[in-house]
Structures are given as C-alpha cells and as structure tokens.
C-alpha cells in the first residue's frame, strides 16, 4: 500500500495502482483519452502527463507509471501544463474542426479537454489528413477522420466483448482504426464503443443528427430486454425517447449495455397500441376505455373464477403483475402463469429460480458448468462478466447444449442433458474438475427448463451442485439464468398456478373462457381455444394483440414507474421518462380502474400503495437495488426426478438475439442487425 503525495495531498493506494489512479484517489483530475478503468493500459495518447520528483526531468505519462512509496507528484506545474498543451496540439493537427456537425459535440472529451488543457489557437497550417469511413454495421457510425487513435474501441472489442474484429492497421500518419476487411461488428456489446470513444469517431448510427445532449432530459431506468437488469439512463426530448445509455452499477452491468437494450428503442414508436379496441363482429374497432371495460365486465359477469386465467409477459413491471394477480384472486381464479416458454421453474424456494451466485460473484468462481444457456445471446453483459473472470484466470467452463462461440474457451460436454448423469456418477472427466473446484458454479438456462423434462434437469442440476460443493454456507453456486426481465419478479409474486390452478398449457385449447394477457406475446397464441375471450393488455400490436377480443393499451417500460427483479433476484426501480402514447395508461392503473368497474376495487391508489402490497406478498420487494450475498444451508432440492432426463439435445432459447420481444420486433434497427448478422437467413425466409 504505497503512500504518495500528489499536489500536497497525501494518499494511500492499493498495490499495483498507477500514478493516475492515485491522482484520482486524491481527487485531482488528470486529462486522458486512452486510459480507461476497465480496459488494459495502452499509454498511447500521452495526455495524462504529470511531473514526478526525483525522476528524470521530463513529463511522465501517469497512466503507465506505477505508484511507489514516497513519490511526490505534481499535476499543475509549467512543465506539465506545457506538455499537455503540446500533446493536445498534436492531437488537433489532424482532428477536423467539424464540432458543429459532430454528434459528440457537448459530450466530447476532446472538446472539453481542449478547452481545459489545450492552447487557444493552432499553429498548424498544413492540410489535415482524411481517412475513409468504415462500415461497422447498422449500429455504429464512423467518422474516422476524427479518430485520435486512443485504441479504446480496439481494446474493448478484444478484451471485454471477446470478438477481436477491430484493430489499427498501417502506421504513422497512415494508421487507421477499423476492421481492415469490411464486416459488421460481431458483438452483442458493440454499442459500448460509442460510449468509450472520447471523440466523435464512433457515434450511434440510429441516433445520428438527432439531438444535442443538453436538450435531453435524463431519467434513470432498468433495461428490460434481458434479465440482467442493466441500469440505464433514458434520454428523451418531449414525447420521444431518443437514446438509452448505461449507468454504472458495479454489481450488475459495470458500465456496459447490450446492443438490444441500447438500440431497440425505435421499436417504442412503432406498432404501438394507443387506444382501446374491442372486437365487434369479428373485427377490432377502436373504443373508449369505458366500452372496453364494459365488454370485459359483461364477459366476466357470469363466469366462475376457474374459467378465468391470466398470463404475464416477459417485459412486465412487478406492479402490474401484482394488480393483475390481486384481481384474479378477487375473481376467484387461481389460473395464473408467467412461464410463457413453459420453463419448469420451481417457485417453492427463491434460490431454485434465481442467479444465486450474483453477477459480481461470478468473478469468484473457479469452475463453471453451463446447462442449456447461451449467455452471449441471452445476457450479453453477464457473459462479459464470465469472460472477464476467464480472462483474469482461465477457469474451466463446461457447456451442455448447443455448441456456440461464447467468447471464451469452453469444454463442450454434449448437446443433450443426459450427460448430467455421467457428471453425477463421476464417470465424466469434467466431474472431477467441478469437484476439485473451491467455488464451482452451475448455470441453468431456460433452454434446459423449457422442455418436458425441465423439472428433471433442474433437479439433476441442483443435485450435482450439492455434490460438487457448490452449495455451501458461504457460497451459493446454483444459478438459473433467465431471459425475461419480468420472470423473477413474477415468480417472487407467485404469479403461478395457485391451488388447483391451471398453468399455461391447461389454459390453452379452451381451458379457460376468459384469458387476460398482460403483455404476453412469446407463446403460440394459436393454441388459445377458439371460444376463449382474450384480453390483451400491453403496448405493442404483436402476437397477443392479434388474437385479442379486447385490447387495453398499456405503457412500455420507458413510460411507467416500475419495479423489475433481475435474474439475481435484485429488485430495481425504473422511472417514467415519457408519457404513454394516446389513451394508453400505466398498466397497474388500468387494472385498478377495471377492478372498480366490477366491484372488486383493489386497495391501492398510488404506486407507493401498490409497492406496499408487493412487500406484503413478498418482503424482497422492500430491498431495492441492494442484494445481499448468501450461501445455501438447506440442500433439499427442487421437485423433479433427476433420472427422468431425456436424450433429446437442448435447443437454444434465443434463436435471433436482435428480435426477442414485441419492442425489438418492431424496431427497424434490430431488423437491420438481424439482416447484417445472418443475411442468408433473411434471404431464405
């Protein structure tokens, strides 16, 4: 723990820190372009110059210089100021003066630091160099003349995303950052290089020329396109969400955001349900709220509770599911389900259906077994965490399921879950690897659970976890990786068949007479019985709305306050950035208003009251944002016979990463990504 003095401030920093990190610890700003906390150190921009006593009398780049005991550092001497001015002058030699037409303007490191540390004029009169723009696919726009060669994007793509596509080719004045051969970036995290780029060389293609940062109002929210619960910031102007950026949360997403969460937002403006619709004579006609409610009330009046059912979708907030569940209970129905994919989740204990190790906890693991999950497609940010762990120390990672490139080396154990029994009896060589690990992790994906023997796989995975020592008092290595943002919240709220209640399968084919779909689009709606009266409450005209008899227009995640529980079981609140379009309303309010119509008035009028009710159902909802780490003391496993596993290979849960839900299916950008990712697939359709 070296102690050093920086501009007269004494700080003590961790071993292995650099001088730049020590300066940050002392609260002193050091300008930088190439240095980034989460990337390897390059030391090529030379902007972070400082002066250190008793070293050769020259400016020293602080990002590459190790902090040592007794060092005396100056960050504001004539030598430092002059050095930084010189570096800035060199950087600006070839940087175009196109700030007025640059999307980075207003949030540009180069702009800010040129003001703070640069000269007030340029002495350079020669021509600037020009560089051809690269086509990096539908998401990242390039203006390569602006590039200052900090190589952050190259390092991110190679180190964090694990898809080494970018590089710096040629040299000297001819050096160019790009892919050399034309190709779209093959990473699901590619949008992050836009944030990392300190200049306007890499900007968002869909957001190009849309707004200036100071015009936007910024609201904190939670990403719903996967179950990671990435912390996001929604930037909106007037009635439009213009862009989505990640917020830093070390425990969840560090500072990354997956491409779908960042770029699917144009889907929020298309195919929206903005007024109620009622089917009359086989055709949906626009209606008022009163007419829509009356149509439902009329249908419900004569029905017994067990003829009514409700299915919650993948993007729902916990508040709306609470309201719908309470309404169903009030109507005497136990027919609830949130498992649209038919995943055989066991709701009897919370650690049977959550990612118990926690996302940050992945970094402690020393062996991983992935069963029927493709974290790269199902949770790219979580996959980056696994990769980070693997890069720090190459841990053994076994995969059961389809063989794909997860951006780290894996041992493929087979396509069928039957190999679990070989792991169980120790006949498979990977069993020894897991048993010898101190903190082994098992990750069970939805692909393994959404099949007839899902319960058996879940039970077998738990049994294996117990055997290999993954379930200990201080380490919980059993994990379920979800794909739906709403799923864990729904499980926590017991949005599951109650006593004698019907599950999704039983509700199909006329199992119920009235079916309330709360944003449920991800199951085969043609299985719903022809005479079942379907209420679709949601925000997009997708599969559910097409089948509906009454449509209640709800709010998308950007348009409502909502609680979401991520795959870890972490409760997080998102805030409303804009108003829902037209007559659409926040979903829990719709249900609350309807309950009044049929004489079962739900006992809450404010979101605070709904949340109090949620806490009453499950106390976990009182703990927002924070998730304590816990071990496992009760080894009794989930229901299911571990022997009943079939040999059928596991089919991937996510076929096309870019289109998994009503919002991303409505997104033009995501459609372009789909085409870029698999041109042959699209052509064949």
């Amino acid at each position: 723990m070296p102690k050093l003095t920086i501009d007269g401030i004494e700080v003590e920093v961790a071993n292995g820190s650099t001088v730049l990190q020590a300066c940050e610890a002392a609260g002193i700003e050091v300008p930088r372009f190439c240095y980034h906390d989460r990337l390897s150190i390059a030391g090529n921009c030379r902007m972070c110059l400082v002066e250190i006593e008793k070293t050769p009398p020259k400016p020293i780049s602080s990002c590459t210089y190790p902090a040592a005991e007794g060092m005396i550092v100056h960050t504001d001497t004539p030598m430092v100021r002059n050095g930084r001015r010189g570096v800035m002058e060199f950087l600006l030699i070839n940087h175009p003066l196109d700030c007025p037409i640059c999307d980075q303007g207003g949030e540009c490191d180069l702009q800010d630091q040129a003001m703070g540390y640069g000269m007030d004029h340029s002495r350079y009169e020669e021509n600037k160099r020009a560089v051809k723009d690269k086509n990096l696919g539908p998401l990242v726009k390039t203006v390569m003349t602006r590039c200052i060669h900090c190589t952050r994007c190259i390092r991110f793509i190679a180190e964090v995303a694990g898809v080494p596509d970018l590089g710096a080719t040629s040299r000297g004045e001819h050096m160019e950052v790009g892919t050399y051969v034309e190709k779209a970036l093959g990473s699901e995290l590619s949008g992050n290089i836009i944030d990392l780029c300190p200049v306007g060389a890499l900007t968002s293609k869909p957001y190009a020329f849309t707004a200036r940062p100071w015009e936007l109002s910024k609201v904190d929210s939670i990403d719903v396109f996967d179950a990671v619960g990435t912390n996001i910031r929604i930037d909106s102007r007037g009635p439009e969400v213009l862009r989505i950026l990640p917020r830093i949360n070390e425990d969840v997403n560090e500072e990354w955001l997956a491409d779908k969460g960042r770029f699917a937002l144009d889907g929020l403006k298309r195919r929206r349900l903005d007024k109620p619709w009622v089917k009359e004579g086989g055709k949906l006609v626009a209606a008022t709220w009163a007419q829509a409610f009356a149509a439902i009330a009329g249908k419900l009046k004569a029905l017994a509770g067990d003829r009514i059912g409700a299915i919650a979708g993948d993007l729902c907030d916990a508040e709306s599911m609470t309201a719908l569940r309470d309404l169903m209970v009030a109507l005497g129905s136990a027919n609830l389900d949130c498992r649209q994919d038919g995943a055989r989740l066991d709701g009897s204990r919370r650690d049977f259906y959550s990612f118990n190790t926690s996302i940050a906890g992945i970094e402690e693991a020393d062996a991983v077994l992935i069963i029927g999950a493709n974290p790269r497609k199902e949770a790219p940010v979580l996959n980056a965490r696994i990769r980070k762990t693997w890069v720090n120390a190459p841990i053994p990672i076994g995969v059961i399921g389809a063989e794909t490139d997860l951006t780290y080396d894996v041992t493929h154990l087979g396509g069928s879950p039957a190999v679990l029994s070989a792991l169980h009896d120790g006949s498979h060589p990977f069993a020894a690897v897991l048993r010898n690990a101190k903190k082994p992790m098992i990750i069970v994906g939805q692909a393994a659970l959404a099949r007839p023997d899902g319960s058996a796989i879940l039970a077998a995975a738990w049994r294996l976890a117990a055997e290999i020592g993954a379930l200990a008092a201080d380490w919980h290595g059993f994990n379920v990786l979800h794909t739906a943002a709403a799923r864990v919240g729904a499980m926590d709220l017991a949005f599951l068949p109650g006593a004698k209640g019907k599950n999704l399968d039983a509700m199909m084919g006329g199992g119920v007479d009235v079916l309330w779909l709360l944003g449920a689009d991800e199951f085969d709606t043609s299985r719903i019985g022809a005479n079942t009266f379907v209420i679709y409450q949601g925000h997009h005209g997708d599969a559910g709305a097409r089948r509906a008899d009454v449509i209640l227009p709800g709010a998308a995640y950007t348009e409502k306050h909502g609680a979401y529980v991520n795959t870890e079981g972490r409760v997080q609140h998102g805030f409303r950035a804009i108003d829902p379009p037209g007559d659409a309303r926040e979903d829990w309010r719709i249900i609350r208003a309807f309950s009044d119509q049929i004489g079962h008035k739900l006992p809450y009028d404010t979101i605070e009251a709904v949340r109090a009710r949620m806490e009453q159902i499950n106390p976990v909802f009182s703990r927002v944002g924070f998730l304590p780490r816990f071990g496992c003391t009760d080894l009794s496993g989930p229901a299911g016979d571990p022997a009943a596993i079939s040999d059928a290979p596991i089919q991937p849960a996510v076929a096309n990463y870019y289109q998994t839900d009503p919002i991303s299916r409505s997104s033009v950008t995501m459609a372009a990504c789909t085409e870029a990712a698999s041109p042959t697939l699209v052509a064949a359709e």
Binding site: P164, D165, L166, S170, R171, T179, Y180, V181
Partner: protein
C-alpha cells in the same frame, strides 16, 4: 498506404500453404514456446510472400493468406492484418516481377538517392511511389533506412541490396534485370563489402613486432 490511388486489384478467393511453405512454417513455429505461436507471425508472413512469388510471380500478401496465417498461429485475423500493414516489407497489393525499393533516408539522400529515383522513373515509366510499370515488370517503392548507409545510395531489388548506385548503374541494373539476369549483389563500385573505396586507407603500414 501510399498506394491508395494506384490501380485496383483483385484479392484471390482462397489461399493455402503449399508443401514447401508448410515445412518452413513448421520449422519457424517450433522456435517458440507452446502457446506463443503468435511470435511467428512476421516470419510466417515472409513465407506467404515467398510462396506468392513462387506461384504467381508477384511477392505480396493477400487477405486470405493473412487469414491462413492467423488460423495457423491461433491469432485473430485482425492481429495479423495489423502486423502485416505495419511493416512496409510486406506488400499488401500485387507488385511487379522486380520490386525496386529506393532508400531515401538522409545518408542515401545526401549521396544522391534523388538521382536513383529519377533513373528508375526514366527507365521504367513509373511516376509515383507504389506504382507498377505498365509492362508489370517493376514496382517502385520508397523505403526508410535499410541499414546499408556506408555504401549509400542503395537500391534494394526484392531481397537484394545494390549499393554505391548512380543513375548509370541503375540503367545497367534494370537492363540486366529485364534480360532476366541477376547481377551480383553488394557494392556496384567494386569495393569489397563496406571497405573503403579504392582499397584500404588506414593501417596500411602496419608492422608486427618481430617474434622473439
């Protein structure tokens, strides 16, 4: 590089190492410890360039060949592209039968590299750096110091150094190359390696003490 304004060309659709190259690469890779095969990238690229010379008559490195090198050495293709484009010894586009590399760094320049350049231009019809003559025989590029300053100016043809050049010698050399001859490499002024021109100038009267 400088040749961005030169004629367009086609990348071959595929590339595979031939038996000779495979043998060379196996030998090169064996020099490095297990897991450090990437160290072999530069010699491997030379192997590619030599194979292209053998098979097509033009010593250059196509993209497919860089992919093959990356595959062989377990490197991402872009890492190979970075190395190959960094060093001007690797030609990223087809070159003529003879690759004339004129050193224009200070010692050669002081000793008349401008005349060498002019003579090459006049003899081949090439206008700018990186261009290939209309008959496809010569490509002329400008190179940085190639380490033969004592015998400046230097004209490198493929891998051979021709030193102590002047315009007349350039004409003779190029004419010989056109005839398919390869004049002996080294000093064209007749001196022995880098010894002084016209024979030794120091230690000429060296006498040893009589042995006792």
């Amino acid at each position: 590089m400088a040749a961005s304004n030169a004629a367009p060309f086609e990348q071959p659709a595929s590339f595979a190492f031939d038996a000779e190259s495979e043998a060379q690469i196996a030998m090169i890779v064996a020099r490095y410890p297990e897991g450090k095969q990437a160290s072999a990238v530069i010699p491997a690229l030379y192997v590619v360039q030599k194979q292209m010379k053998r098979t097509t008559g033009s010593a250059w490195v196509p993209v497919k060949a860089m992919d093959a090198v990356g595959h062989r050495l377990s490197m991402a293709p872009i890492r190979v592209y970075e190395v190959a484009t960094f060093y001007f010894m690797f030609n990223m586009r087809p070159v003529g039968t003879y690759h004339l590399q004129v050193c224009t760094t200070t010692p050669c320049w002081l000793r008349g590299s401008d005349q060498i350049t002019e003579a090459c231009r006049a003899a081949t019809g090439i206008q700018g750096w990186g261009e290939t003559s209309a008959d496809g025989v010569f490509t002329m590029t400008e190179v940085e110091c190639i380490g033969a300053c004592v015998n400046a100016p230097v004209l490198q043809v493929d891998d051979d150094f021709y030193e102590d050049m002047d315009a007349e010698k350039v004409n003779q050399l190029l004419a010989a190359l056109r005839r398919g001859e390869r004049p002996p490499v080294g000093s064209m002024a007749g001196r022995q390696r880098a010894a002084p021109e016209g024979g030794p100038t120091t230690l000429t009267t060296l006498q040893f003490a009589p042995e006792a």
